[in-house]
């Protein structure tokens, strides 16, 4: 994407160029999708399918035909092909919008996508085909969960729990008010109007009211994300849109059942309330159970890091599906699962898995959202519409009015209990931000035709409402926010200061509450976190992390982030008080001694010979091994690193020449490899930089090169034996070292050149080996066979030598 913008986004390019590019992308994708759609219908009985029945086969063989060099078999791949094509279309659209920055600044993406959907639908219809309508099953089972999971997993917990009372009020009471107000008023209007509308029964109106009154999370996310409003308002509207799912589900099923029966009693209404409690609490319970399971599983994934993200996704999706089985609220289950799972999973998984999860969730939710809006547009063109001016205009009006009344009324009640009151500006934004979206549309689509003869009218009405809210409200909310000077989201980089002080204040407030004898918000939060620490963390977080206080893990994360930033920018940032992680660049600084060409040749030959042996002893390549970089180990060994921080500086300078292992050759897990090799380098040497002392200390230590990597051992031993021809010992321990020292001293007089030569060679070989260490993990990224033929080795050797 950045490359693309570089190519297309340069100021030299005229806006005309960009528009034409966008148009080209649009046309191409439309053509592609329409061919797919047409292909659906024309190729149905065509082609040589793999399941040709023997009859036709038999007939074919009677006449000798030419062997088909090229044949078309579209049916075979029809389904996945179409799906991929749609997703491709959606992604190309997203890409296209960002090519034209001015457009995306004015019009929210959701509007553009709906327009695209309309165009695509129109084109398909022009071609005479039947455009696909948004299949409800597809929507609820495939398109909606990623968005909700993304929202739930990254839900900011603190603001959510602080405002949970307000959010619940809006979600439950607000939606109920909206539903009944709209339903009753619509019924009244229908009766008053008479004629065709007069036939609409009360229950149909009520069910329509309940469907259309629910604020839609997808639309809210799509619009609010672009306006960067302050956290409080965002969480209020967004939280409401998530939690009102339970209400919508209950009302929907309730009214549907009533429509079947035709008679409503008080007992039924009472059961409805019970149902609501069951649906919401049951959904949360299901989600929490799966969340705990997911957290527990993640405790054991330290050896199979590759599939860690998969567990998160699977457990969450299962939670959603399980809740849907019992007609519980799937959305609440999904959110509960994400919220419960997250702190424990993040303590257990590797940094890479965390990044993977984050990016996959964002990717899926982005694609889903795009698809939903495009399909909305297409479905608009596809559906049979019954346009009834009165009904539709009334619906829109009532939506707005009931929303405003609901918000204002509820706020006046809520403000009595809130510490930070909601101002009228806030109320306006909350009311205006109540967007309707695809969920409402799908729910209407699911209505059975026989009980609801006015279904098409409802469909038209709901589409109009959705269009109205997304286009009108979505487009105007941004300038309104500017106009009203609503507080925007502060660019927070959560500093360690804030973290410490916030925790401090939490403790302080809990203490004061205890003094007052008041069991308030802080008291329960404190109790929960104590329970968490004492019992839950032990079970769900593996290893030592379970004992780690929140402050420490926060600090680690910060240091890690900073180190990553440092790496990427290539230079030191001023704020790091401790250098846990050195940028790779400094590794490149080496003291390379000057060598004569003859010497170089000699060394090259030695290396080449060495490397042959090395290759054969490498680990077998496995697709599933994750190769480490120092960063991953860093976070594991951070506490150990801090012990050795004083030696880290020295490390960096002399890392290539000294590879003294301090521990006996165990087979440490792969993860620990690199770091330990660097750590152990200077166990014994003090910070001497003078080259003379350098060399002396170098020589004996090099001969010890027992690399911690189990297999590399052999290699280093071999190289040692080859390099140091004078030595005769083959043992691994200090004996060797001492012997070497002895040997060295003996031969000291016998040719300074040889000793320096060998020491230099040793240095270089050690440096090469170090480079080997550095390089080999990267080499593993291409699949290499175990046995390496001559040719490759020559190249390797050459590369190393030069």
């Amino acid at each position: 994407m950045p490359a693309l913008s570089q190519v297309f986004g340069g100021p030299r390019r005229s806006p005309g160029m960009r528009w034409s590019l966008l148009a080209a992308v649009l046309i191409l994708s439309v053509i592609a999708s329409s061919t797919a759609a047409s292909a659906i219908h024309t190729k149905q009985g065509n082609g040589t399918t793999p399941h040709t029945d023997p009859k036709t086969n038999g007939t074919i063989t009677h006449t000798k035909k030419a062997f088909p060099v090229l044949s078309v078999n579209y049916d075979y791949v029809r389904m996945p092909f179409e799906i991929s094509l749609w997703i491709l279309l959606a992604s190309l659209m997203k890409l296209g919008f960002h090519l034209v920055p001015r457009l995306s600044g004015v019009v929210p993406e959701s509007c553009l996508l709906i327009v695209v959907g309309l165009l695509v639908g129109g084109l398909i219809k022009l071609m005479g085909e039947h455009p696909p309508v948004l299949d409800s099953k597809l929507f609820f089972l495939c398109l909606l969960p990623p968005i909700i999971l993304d929202a739930g997993y990254f839900l900011p917990i603190r603001p959510f729990t602080e405002n949970v009372g307000t959010i619940l009020m809006f979600a439950v009471v607000g939606t109920l008010w909206n539903a009944f107000f709209m339903g009753l008023m619509l019924y009244g209007v229908c009766q008053a109007e008479g004629g065709q509308l007069g036939e609409v029964p009360l229950l149909s109106c009520l069910i329509f009211g309940s469907i259309v009154s629910a604020v839609d999370p997808v639309a809210v996310l799509a619009v609010f994300e672009e306006i960067h409003i302050n956290e409080l308002l965002h969480i209020l509207v967004f939280g409401e849109s998530l939690l009102n799912d339970a209400v919508t589900v209950v009302l929907y099923h309730l009214f549907e059942e009533f429509a079947n029966e035709g008679v409503v009693t008080v007992a039924d209404a009472f059961l409805g309330v019970i149902c609501f409690l069951v649906v919401s609490l049951g959904g949360i319970l299901v989600g929490a159970i799966y969340g705990v399971l997911g957290a527990f599983t993640s405790r054991f994934t330290s050896h199979t890091r590759v599939i860690e993200p998969l567990f998160v996704f699977l457990y969450s999706y299962m939670a959603y599906l399980s809740a849907e089985v019992f007609h519980l609220s799937g959305i609440m289950a999904l959110i509960a699962c994400g919220v419960v799972m997250r702190p424990y999973v993040e303590a257990n998984i590797s940094h890479k898995s965390y990044t993977t999860i984050k990016y996959f969730l964002k990717m899926w939710s982005s694609v889903s959202e795009t698809l939903i809006f495009i399909f909305l547009g297409v479905s608009t063109v596809a559906g049979q519409h019954v346009w009834n001016w009165t009904f539709i205009i009334t619906t829109i009006f009532l939506c707005l009015i009931s929303r405003v009344l609901g918000v204002v009324g509820l706020t006046s009640v809520i403000n009595r209990f809130r510490i930070v009151k909601l101002t009228s500006k806030d109320q306006f934004i909350v009311a205006y931000g109540g967007l309707r979206g695809a969920i409402a549309f799908s729910l209407v689509y699911l209505l059975p035709e026989d009980h609801f003869p006015m279904k098409n009218m409802f469909l038209t009405a709901i589409i109009t409402v959705v269009f109205f809210t997304v286009f009108v409200q979505g487009m105007t909310i941004r300038p309104l926010v500017e106009l009203l000077a609503v507080k925007k989201k502060k660019e927070t980089k959560h500093s360690i200061n804030e973290e410490i002080h916030i925790q401090f204040l939490d403790h302080l407030l809990t203490g004061i509450e205890d003094v007052c004898g008041h069991y308030g918000h802080h008291h329960w939060k404190d109790k929960l976190s104590r329970f968490n620490k004492a019992y839950v963390k032990k079970w769900l977080i593996g290893g030592e992390r379970s004992m780690e206080p929140q402050l420490i893990s926060f600090y680690h994360k910060m240091e890690l982030k900073q180190a990553l930033m440092m790496l990427e920018s290539g230079g030191p940032t001023p704020n790091v008080s401790m250098q846990n992680i050195q940028p790779r660049r400094t590794v490149q600084e080496r003291l390379i001694p000057r060598l004569s060409r003859g010497r170089e040749e000699e060394i090259r030959n030695i290396l080449r010979a060495n490397l042959q042996h090395t290759r054969q002893r490498l680990r077998s390549y496995s697709r599933h091994t994750l190769f480490d970089d120092p960063l991953e180990e860093e976070e594991e060994d951070l506490s150990e690193a801090q012990m050795r921080k004083k030696r880290v500086e020295m490390h960096r300078r002399m890392s290539h020449y000294l590879t003294v292992p301090a521990k006996p050759p165990t087979s440490p897990p792969i993860r620990r490899v690199r770091f330990e090799s660097e750590n152990q380098v200077f166990g014994s040497t003090p910070g001497s930089t003078a080259s003379s002392r350098f060399q002396v200390s170098v020589v004996p230590s090099i001969q010890l090169t027992r690399a911690p990597i189990a297999h590399m051992e052999q290699m280093s031993q071999d190289s040692v034996s080859l390099v140091d021809e004078s030595s005769s010992s083959q043992q691994q321990d200090k004996q060797q070292q001492q012997q070497q020292q002895g040997g060295q001293q003996d031969s000291e007089t016998g040719g300074v050149s040889t000793s320096t030569g060998s020491s230099l060679g040793a240095e270089l070989s050690a440096s090469e080996r170090e480079q080997d260490h550095l390089r080999l993990p990267r080499c593993f990224s291409d699949p290499g066979p175990n046995k390496i033929d001559e040719e490759e080795e020559e190249e390797e050797g050459d590369r190393f030598g030069s």
Binding site: V420, Q503, P549, L551, I552, N575, S577
Partner: protein
């Protein structure tokens, strides 16, 4: 018991406390009964032991410091006025208060005073600076015993580095305010009960 408690508190006292702290009449009486229930010695003042008898405060990492905050400098007893004065810091901020009395000075529950209260809990020696040692002490209390001194030291260094604007390796009150400028202190440091 209830009537006896309220009879010990005279109307003039209530009025004075109301003016000083901004609490309402009902709140003052409610808190007075709490004060009375804590006061086992029944001498109209609370000592440190009375506070330490509160069970949750014993397990609070900042328990001792909170208790100390109630007692004015060098004294061992706190009367009801002092009790209320300390608690007044945690009253929620009201918007209409700003217009009430511009001459009365800053109310006790203003943002500034709340932050000053928190600052004083860090800064034990009252030199208006949080030194590295003081920060380390607080960190140690909050974090527990499992973490090495070195690690805590580096966290403390990092914290001071982030906040320190004038390079004196200490956090002054203004730097403290600046570090917390993005935090909604009015909400964080308020207890709804006291509204």
């Amino acid at each position: 018991m209830g009537s006896r408690a309220s009879s010990l508190l005279r109307e003039e006292d209530i009025e004075e406390i109301k003016k000083e702290t901004g609490f309402s009449h009902s709140q003052i009486t409610r808190l007075y009964s709490r004060f009375h229930s804590l006061d086992k010695g029944e001498n109209g003042a609370l000592s440190r032991e009375d506070f330490q008898r509160i069970p949750e405060l014993a397990i609070n990492p900042l328990g001792d410091r909170i208790i100390n905050a109630f007692f004015p400098e060098g004294e061992d007893q706190v009367n009801f006025r002092g009790f209320m004065r300390t608690l007044a810091h945690f009253r929620p901020v009201e918007d209409n208060e700003k217009n009430k009395d511009p001459d009365a000075g800053e109310p006790l529950n203003s943002r500034n005073n709340k932050l000053l209260f928190a600052f004083r809990l860090y800064d034990l020696d009252r030199d208006d600076k949080i030194s590295r040692d003081e920060l380390l002490q607080v960190l140690r209390m909050m974090v527990g015993v499992n973490i090495s001194d070195e690690q805590l030291g580096s966290i403390a260094d990092r914290t001071i580095q982030e906040a320190d604007a004038n390079g004196d390796m200490c956090i002054s009150f203004s730097e403290f305010i600046k570090a917390l400028e993005k935090v909604d202190v009015e909400q964080k440091m308020s207890i709804r009960f006291l509204h």
